[in-house]
Amino acid sequence: MANKPTAYNNRLGLKGWVYAGNYTFERYLYIGHRLSGLGLIAYMVLHIIETANRMRGEEAWAALMGLFASPVFKIVEYLLFAAAVFHAMNGVRLLLVELGFFLGKPQEPIFPYKSSVMKHRPLTYIIMLLAGLLMALGGSSLFFK
């Protein structure tokens, strides 16, 4: 009996969520939310390792603090802050829409269709503007104080 021809695995995998291509703004927010979430988890692990350095004595701690005072780490610190702000603000948007707010009511679809994504687009813009404002305020306080 001949072998059954096999189908080709056409799953996009990681590329499927890091590449948004021609999709809408919210699809890019999805990438940002996941990446910032992963970044914050990585920071938490690093933060525990960093603070554990205190156990190695005062000199080791002072050397580490000296390293963190460099301009490169200031930028890293700001990126971390920006990721936290974005993740929190987008999280507020997700909480609201996941509880059904700002999405309108179900109705029979009539062309041209207006999806729930477009219905809550004003909320998306307002929240992203607020996130941008917070990032700008945080940046000015960190770099120009």
Partner: protein, 275 residues
Amino acid sequence: MTDTKQITFRIRRYDPDLDTIPHWEEHKLNVPDGMTVLEALQEIKAEQAPTLAWRSSCRMGVCGSCGMFINHLPMLACQTQVLHLGTDVVTVAPLPNYDNVKDLVPNLEPLIQKHAAIKPFIILTNSKEIDEPTGEFIQTPEQRDEYSQFTFCIKCGLCLAACPTVATDPLFLGPQALAQAYRYTVDNRDCGLQERLEAIDAFHGPYQCHMAGACSQACPKGVDPAFGIQLLKRTLVLDSIGFGKKKSSVAKVMPLADIVKQIEEFAPPPRTVGK
């Protein structure tokens, strides 16, 4: 004579008997205004690539067979006009996130399996009412409006091809099944939320959705599966904290005697002609 424009079609080919990985083929075609991608493929097959395979049936966006990845977006080939795409090169590939059976043919089996997993039918807890119905269910237009949008799903599978979560999590139920789970759960005749919980209130359930909205953008019928998923999440949250809709074990039933009375009330007047 109709104006035509020469378009290059980059079509992904895969024959499981001959190929180990897919390859791309280019075909040039003079495309008149109004020609759909499906019609273009039919012409390419007739004149240039006789072995080209795809799946299609109704040619009018009803059957949902001809879903393809056209210019990197999932679309129905029969509803997509080539010149409306606005590019001189049109890429046509099989829907991603499904196994590729041959050329442009995806294996939609996972879509059907996930759809079946959420028990897509009205569930009654009173089995006697199923076997020996005593009357009709009452449903107001407002109650019907709660789910009617989601009944327009044609199971074309474009939403799963667009979903970034499905791309990395093959077990995620996906927009189609979750929207249908909401469609049946919110139906006032249905009492099946608890029976569906095992499938939908799980790790691979609606909470994996982060409202990317790609499914709703891809949906050719305006079903808006992302909306259905968010409403399903709300339903599950309200149910888990005890604020879910309280339904009787048997949905409201109008007694048959009342229906007969209504029929009598609205009976036509007695015939006067031809007596």
